[in-house]
Structure formats: structure tokens, C-alpha cells
């Protein structure tokens, strides 16, 4: 088994395994590049209940001498809110104002958002309707290891795999191009490579 054979087979099987992600990242870029205004999605209330929890002091409004709450404390509160609303998995948490804490639980089909109204000691959970455009763009933009859900972590692993796969396809593609016998493909290849690099540099310098 030659080196070139290994390169070709790696290029092929990795491509076949990650094919859905490649198509998804391509197709989902269409609505992102051709953004058009759309009606806001509809959210349906799925839970409303009394809720009380210690809220960390936000860094921006901590009184003199008081230690502002850490993001870990805010995440702990977010997990409490998730549990109270009977939602499991990863989430984002933020405190948009002193009276409210928001949790967003991503889900490609129907994400959930949870609001904790601190003054009213009330928790409200809402689920978004399925929106095809948001489903597709959600697949594109979801990533990162900090969401706190196991399967979100595995998804992030696949995002890394696709990124590394892309770099491997580029490298193996360059090797396969270079190994093609004859001067024609090499000359045309250099032309494509050089013209692409030139266009890229010009656009970057003008942007």
C-alpha cells in the first residue's frame, strides 16, 4: 500500500463519513449570505411556576466592597432554572438586567428559553415553533464546548472533526494534484491556486 493510496483512501472515507456536515455547512450558508427580513418566530409557554433562588451579584452593579458573582455561579443558577423547568441538556445563561435572568437551551428543532423574574419570584419557560430557516442556520452556528450538555459536547467534537477534515482534504487534495502525471494539470493547477490566492488577498485588503 503506497503513501498515495493511503492519502486517497483517507480523503475518500473521511469525505463520505462527514458528507452530511459538508452539505449542511454549504447549504446553511445560503440563508446566512442572503439574509432577508422574516417575521419573528412564535414562542409557546410550556411552564410557569413560582421559583426562588440566590442570584449572584452582577459585576456591573456590585456594591462597593462586594464581590461580583462569577460566571460559574450564574451557570449554577441557570442549571437550577433548567431543572425547575424540567429541561435537560446544554444552555446559555445571561442576566440582561438586575431583575431578570435568561436561559436559552438550544435545540435544532424547537429550542427553549427560560426567564427568571427575580422580583416576582416567577419562572417562565417557552418553546419556539419549528422554523426551517432557523433549523438550518442553527445547525451552522451551533458549536463550542461550554454549553454543559454531553451531546452538545459531542456535536462540538464533530465540528472540530469537520474543520480538521477540511484541512486534511485540502492537504491530500494538493498531494493528489501534485502526483498527477503530465505538465498540463500542474500548470493549470498553479494558475488556479495563484489566481485564487490573488483574488483572496485583493478582497481582504479592500474589505
Amino acid at each position: 500500500m503506497s503513501f498515495l493510496h493511503v492519502v486517497r483512501r483517507t480523503h475518500l472515507y473521511l469525505g463520505l463519513f462527514l458528507l452530511p456536515w459538508v452539505i449542511m455547512f454549504g447549504v446553511s450558508s445560503i440563508p446566512l449570505n442572503h439574509n432577508s427580513p422574516a417575521a419573528p418566530p412564535r414562542w409557546t409557554k410550556v411552564a410557569e411556576l413560582p421559583f426562588t433562588a440566590a442570584v449572584p451579584v452582577p459585576a456591573t452593579s456590585s456594591p462597593a466592597g462586594a464581590q461580583p458573582g462569577s460566571s460559574a455561579e450564574l451557570r449554577a443558577l441557570g442549571r437550577e432554572m433548567m431543572n425547575a423547568a424540567h429541561v435537560s441538556g446544554g444552555f446559555y445563561v445571561n442576566r440582561p438586567n438586575p431583575r431578570q435572568v435568561n436561559v436559552n437551551h438550544p435545540n435544532f428543532l424547537r429550542p427553549t428559553r427560560i426567564f427568571y423574574y427575580i422580583d416576582e419570584q416567577r419562572l417562565v419557560a417557552e418553546r419556539r415553533e419549528f422554523v426551517p430557516r432557523m433549523f438550518v442556520t442553527g445547525l451552522h452556528t451551533r458549536g463550542g464546548y461550554a454549553l454543559g450538555g454531553f451531546w452538545d459536547w459531542v456535536w462540538a467534537l464533530f465540528v472540530d472533526a469537520v474543520s480538521i477534515g477540511l484541512l486534511l482534504w485540502i492537504l491530500s487534495g494538493l498531494i493528489m494534484w501534485w502526483k498527477i502525471p503530465g505538465t498540463g494539470p500542474r500548470q493549470w493547477g498553479w494558475l488556479a491556486l495563484a489566481s485564487g490566492a490573488a483574488c483572496f488577498v485583493i478582497i481582504m485588503l479592500r474589505l
Binding site: G15, F17, L19, I30, L139, G144, L174, G189, G196, L205
Partner: protein
């Protein structure tokens, strides 16, 4: 193959930036003062911030894609003039009749983040249009590579069994994720 060679810089950029974004490697932009100058143009109360910002950028010879925040109570206007390599921040102080121009410190991670997020046909500038066209070209290329790769694989009989196994595993995992998480 030639399309792939042409688009190599874009694909390297998207792969590298995706890795960085997935590991949340981005840091806040650090600006350093570039220039400060008197600016005497005054705007009528109620002038939309985008209109004022466009005028300021034009007067400073800095036309281009920009973002602008709502003015502060004292009328201070902060404009972010997008630039993929080093964005500028222009602050207009109407009370003092001056503008301050700051430029972001160049950094590779920031560049890759901006490159990944730059898209769309809305800005009326040629470079933005060219970028949007190149994004469309990458989209077409990715779908084309996927389909042409499938066809080339099917023509290679010796790889069909393992190829089917890889494709089915990939599709199965992807669908399971898309429907559940």
C-alpha cells in the same frame, strides 16, 4: 480540482476560523488611538445615527461598511468602521466638536473571526459584494464537491463496501443529532 485549488485560501480560512470559534478563542478587540481632530459639522436633533455616521465617515474619507451604536445622552456617537484586517472606531464628541479615531490592534484570531462572519449583499460596496459572491462560490463548490465525490466513489467498485459503511454511519449520526439535540 481546479475549483478547489482556486478556493484553497477560503477553505483554509473557514476551517481554521471554525476551529477557533468552536474553542471560543476570540478576545475583545483592543483599540489604540490613531488620530484626533476637530470636527465642526453639527447635526439636527433627531438625525438618525446611521445618517450622521455616514456623513462623519464621508468627511473623514473613511467610507465603507460600518455599524453605529445609539448616541449617548450627551450626543456622543460611536461608529465602528468595519475592516477585516484592523477595524476602526470613530467617536464623535459633539459638545467638544471633535472626533477621535482609533484602530484595532492587528491579530490573526480576530481576522479569522471577522473573515468567517463577513457575508451578505446588503453593504453597497464592491469589496463586500465580491466577498458575498465568493461565499456563494464556496457554497456551490461544497455541494458540488459532495455530489461529485459521491459519483467518483461509486465508480470505484473496490471501495463501495467501506464507502457505504462510512456514509451510512455519518448520515445516521448526523440525523440523530439534528432530531434530538
Amino acid at each position: 480540482m481546479y475549483l478547489a485549488l482556486f478556493l484553497t485560501p477560503w477553505m483554509v480560512g473557514y476551517a481554521a476560523s471554525t476551529l477557533l470559534m468552536n474553542h471560543e478563542a476570540g478576545r475583545p478587540v483592543v483599540y489604540t488611538k490613531e488620530n484626533e481632530q476637530p470636527y465642526s459639522t453639527m447635526f439636527e436633533p433627531g438625525t438618525p445615527p446611521r445618517v450622521a455616521a455616514e456623513q462623519i465617515l464621508s468627511d473623514l474619507d473613511l467610507e465603507g461598511t460600518f455599524g453605529v451604536a445609539a448616541p449617548s445622552p450627551d450626543g456622543k456617537l460611536v461608529i465602528t468602521r468595519q475592516d477585516i484586517i484592523a477595524p476602526r472606531r470613530i467617536t464623535f464628541y459633539p459638545g467638544e466638536r471633535r472626533v477621535e479615531i482609533e484602530r484595532a490592534k492587528k491579530d490573526a484570531v480576530g481576522f479569522l473571526y471577522r473573515f468567517h462572519r463577513r457575508r451578505g449583499y446588503e453593504p453597497p460596496f464592491a469589496a463586500d459584494r465580491a466577498m458575498a459572491v465568493s461565499v456563494d462560490l464556496v457554497i456551490v463548490a461544497m455541494v458540488f464537491w459532495a455530489l461529485s465525490g459521491l459519483w467518483m466513489w461509486w465508480e470505484m467498485r473496490a471501495t463501495r463496501l467501506w464507502g457505504v459503511a462510512c456514509a451510512v454511519a455519518g448520515i445516521g449520526i448526523f440525523v440523530a443529532f439534528a432530531l434530538t439535540i
